[in-house]
Subunit: 644 residues, 2 copies
């Protein structure tokens, strides 16, 4: 244990101990009142959150969305009653809110939820996500600092438990932070040495100090006194590297389960509560906090924050070009894509996508992103816009490395900080980042996921590279719009619709299709589905498809017509944009065709030709034939269906 | 760079260099002939695979499934032409097979696929999976060593690239290996310092030596000579900890892209191929390997392996109780569950599940598993069977820690080594391990995933703890059977069906339902769907549900009957077991009810009452009401549907 040394300062640490204990007591009152919660971390992590807010966080009480505020990401979401307690200390929540903890439609849900409670910056509760997202906030801050002549300049703090550091996403994302030398990132670890099931060392022998030094972190260890945590934070601010502060705490301090895993989900009974409060030296009634604690806490935060705000406002006034900052202030993250004259029919969809992305990026500074080591395959490199590196934070291309999960969480953080980020990988590997995509969707963040190599047409790389279930699986996620354009027209339409709106979106592209059709329309993407080939007779069948397979279906449609089977072809470039398709289907028999699992279209019709097995290694043509999607075999499949 | 020192031995390293270069040339011939592949790693990793097989791997040429063979997991699946080359050296593949690389239905797919090619132990190509799975093989070997009086005693080797080590799953799984001191695990890293997009240091500043020391690994660094790799492996065998050998190699050695990321997916053109082969001193025609190389290689492997086999057979003969070993030899991993008298109607489904799991485990030694730090919540702890720990490899409970992704990959490795493993976490967090579940499904491994807390009925922990899309999303994965029992009868039926068969399976359970119905039948789980409440009139509606919501539907059914709406209730405890439901539905109107995304049932009916949004924090009762699933609101919803 490295001690910070006793620096002289004028802080009233005695009052702070009382404050920390009041915070503990208040949070315990909340979970006792709610009947469920996580008493263990409430008792261990209280001094960390208390110290951070009292002595470091810069906020604007009149505008909690103040763009240069420090960010605190509570990755250990189950400790949220502590944050609600801080809200109460700062008069941002009422006692009544605290009493509604974990009740429906309260301001105090069981885990932090973005948009519901003051000071909550992130919806957490799935471990590791917040750590990844904090790296994104720090990246965004570094980028915006460069773009705003140092006006934006803040810290990102994240709190997690030492058990949470077992999650792979924490290694992935913090390795990126270390590589990028993000010294505006401070990771606070509640080292209670206990997990839900047992002692941490039953599942981990890891030397945390060595782990973090291996990835270029400044490592500080301290005990759980406000003084030492505070001095650790001050040291962290002087570092040229990201800092991790390993705070030695005691899980379930003073409770009958102190120091054991039984404290994790503990809600103390009345006897234990009394006992704990006695040891905490709290003698007030439930839900009562010492007046001096509260007034001193608020005063300290306000005075510091006001000074900070004044500096910001002065700098803002001096700023010559305010356009970017004003966009951030107004949270304008949409972009109007027009004058599209850059495409080439000779190029693949992926290559045209690259040109479109580059066109937007050149004009729209909030667009920044990177790839999970596949920018050259997914065609998402922003040419001539530089690489985001330790010595070039204005660069626009981020090297996430082969770290899909972190990339998802990091782009979430970038979006939370006002950017419009993108990330690319192969569709098959979207599985690796699924938990982070879910976070984008829950928080409705404008993250663009570019997933290429979208079906068995990937060819010889085989089943692990062949998405079958990924397309319908992404479609299942609420709020997430999945675009799967067939050709260049629909690709343009997808980009227009994605950047016009602020939804989390997946753009799904094939490996090497280069279609362009005279019948497709970019303007129809916004409607989700439309007729590509009309049919004016009364008796016809509908053929529905999207993406690369629409090209096969268009040929099949012609074949069927020649056989006397009238049909209409509908393209469905974005299922979530569809509002009503009844008129389009006109009560006619409808057959949908997809290279994905047929479930993808069962909400539209019960006649779906799809693939309900894994892919295999072979050429694209061999595979299309094997799975029954050659033009000839598809005609046969449809004729078979029609016989039924 | 740590040099191994020059130990005297009688190996013909000069011939070995020729052998390595022949292997490189042969693998290049394969990808040139195929027209695609990954030339970079072929040129860098060849000496590693060559040395490992020539001097260390113990095989049985007459029985490649020999249970005590050493395992080689090729995690860097894109280097597979090298392994096919070894197959050729050992006369396990013909030249003709090599010429069919990447063609459909060949023995030589683009990435390794289990069951298709000799020596391939694992379907790889999604980075990081093989590393995780190798830890599972090593765990299985340690366990079986204890259970077979040291008869089973082998090494697991895994090859990955240094870029692949960016994947979070590699940190998670290797931290487990270090904690468990699995000294039978040797990780070979092809340190070529290049990834697909760029130099490794663009995305990673990590000090690998420090990283591995932090997790209790023996770290060896060496160059890419056969001599040094061999001596490193010998050193590794003496370690009491798992070993990582960091082999310094050169990506795309001798090619025009040598040492750069452009070498990654390189297929050399004819000029470059000539040039490379000249530097490799290969003067033979394509697809030709020096005779002496091949004969010496095969001789060395055979002599060593035969000695190994002889020892094994002697020990086997001496073994008193051969039953477990014979089960392994015959790959008998099913278990006949009967005499079920242990359940209690007073307990929740989770608790009864625990009793069933414990009952099986007590009788069935191949069953071993663990939890992602949620054994006490998922109720999957095996009582009195000990913990699998460094000093107790016969323990049956593995502490995976909060490492879902690794847990999935590790259980895959355990299943590959003949065990019947299980792993548990909350259903919402199945997203974290999805890529590993996909591997179970592709390889059809008998892994049991126990996912509890299966819907919004989790209550106050909020949306990140509420599975909505996870149930249909898992159902989308081919080969994976998802069981969602309603009550104790169906729970028993699920366990019977799961252990009778050898499919990868998910058992999905609610948080605290404790239903038992007089109408449900355990025997019907094998049929997937069945009538719980019959209706003998001709005019009725079908109500379909599973899991906890079936309880609500049973009440609703009664309500509807009282209103004069005849109905039949069908339970569907395992969708993938359903073969034909037409007769059951009897052409009547069918309404399905689910707390998951309605897509879950659209393959059965287009009238589904489900949840197409994220959950929220609140009590179970509040949430059921909010989402329209209280008894009263569900009746209303059904009546509304029937009006249409």
């Amino acid at each position: 244990m490295f001690s910070i040394g006793s620096k002289e300062d004028n802080k009233n640490y005695e009052l702070d101990l009382k404050g920390v204990n009041n915070l503990r007591g208040l949070a315990l009152d909340m979970i006792v009142n709610a009947g469920s919660g996580h008493g263990g971390i409430i008792l261990s992590a209280a001094p960390i959150i208390y110290t951070l807010y009292k002595y470091h966080m810069n906020l604007d009480f009149n505008n909690l969305n103040y763009i240069n505020r420090d960010r605190f990401i509570l990755s250990a979401g189950h400790s949220v009653p502590l944050l609600y307690g801080i809200d109460y200390f700062l008069e941002l929540l009422e006692l009544d809110d605290l009493k509604k903890l974990r009740k429906i439609d309260s301001k105090t849900p069981g885990h932090p939820e973005l948009g519901i409670t003051p000071l909550v910056e992130f919806t957490s509760g799935a471990l590791g996500q917040g750590v990844g997202t904090s790296v994104g906030c720090a990246i965004a801050s570094k980028y915006l600092k460069e773009k705003t002549n140092n006006l934006i300049n803040n810290y990102t703090y994240v709190l997690c438990g030492d058990g949470e550091l077992e999650e792979g996403i924490t290694y992935e994302s913090l390795a990126i932070a270390g590589t990028l030398k993000l010294n505006n990132l401070i990771v606070l670890v509640d080292c209670n040495n206990v997990t839900l099931d047992s002692n941490l060392n039953d599942s981990s022998c890891e030397n945390l100090k060595m782990r973090f030094e291996a990835i270029n972190f400044n490592v500080i260890e301290c005990d759980d006194s406000v003084k030492n945590i505070n001095e650790s934070l001050e040291l962290a601010h002087k570092s040229d590297k990201p800092t991790v502060i390993l705070v030695k705490t005691i899980m379930g301090l003073y409770s009958k389960y102190e120091g054991t895993n039984k404290a994790h989900g503990m809600v103390p009974d009345s006897e234990d509560l009394l006992n704990i409060k006695e040891k905490l030296e709290i003698h007030e009634a439930s839900f009562t906090v010492n007046n001096e604690v509260i007034s001193e806490f608020k005063k300290e935060v306000e005075e510091r924050s006001n000074k900070h705000l004044k500096e910001f406002n002065n700098k803002y006034q001096e700023l010559e070009d305010k356009s970017l900052v004003d966009k951030l202030i107004n949270h304008e993250v949409s972009y109007n894509l027009n004058e599209i004259d850059i495409f080439s029919e000779e190029k693949s969809l992926r290559e045209n996508s690259k040109d479109l992305l580059n066109k937007i990026a050149n004009d729209f500074e909030l667009l920044i992103g990177g790839s999970c080591d596949l920018s050259s395959s997914c065609k998402t490199y922003l040419e001539n816009l530089g690489d985001f590196k330790e010595n070039n934070y204005k660069g626009r291309n981020i090297y996430f490395g082969i770290r899909e999960h972190a990339a998802g969480a990091i782009t979430n953080g970038m979006a939370l900080s006002g950017l419009r980020p993108f990330v690319s990988t192969f569709l098959a590997f979207s599985d690796y980042m699924r938990a982070s995509i879910r976070e984008s969707a829950i928080m409705k963040l404008p993250v663009l996921y570019i997933f290429t190599h979208d079906s068995i047409t990937v060819g010889p790389d085989g089943p692990l590279h062949h998405p079958i279930e990924q397309l319908p699986s992404l479609e299942l996620i609420p709020n997430l719009k999945v675009y799967r354009p067939f050709d260049l027209n629909e690709l343009i339409g997808s980009y227009i619709d994605i950047f016009k709106n602020n939804n989390p979106a997946c753009l799904v592209l094939p490996r090497d299709s280069k279609n362009i059709s005279a019948y497709t329309k970019s303007s129809e993407v916004a409607n989700g589905i439309y007729e590509v080939i009309r049919n004016d007779t009364d008796d016809f069948i509908n053929l529905i498809a999207n993406g690369e397979e629409l090209g096969i279906v268009l040929k099949v449609s012609k074949n069927l017509k020649e056989m006397g089977i009238d049909n209409k072809v509908l393209s469905i470039p974005c299922k979530k944009n569809v509002s009503n398709i009844k008129d389009l289907l006109n009560n006619q028999r409808t057959i949908a065709i997809t290279l994905a699992n047929p479930v993808y279209f069962y909400d539209i019709t019960n006649e779906v030709i799809g693939i309900n097995d894994f892919g295999k290694s072979g050429s694209k043509e061999e595979l299309l034939d094997f799975f029954g999607f050659s033009e000839e075999k598809l005609v046969t499949q449809i004729l078979e269906l029609l016989k039924k």
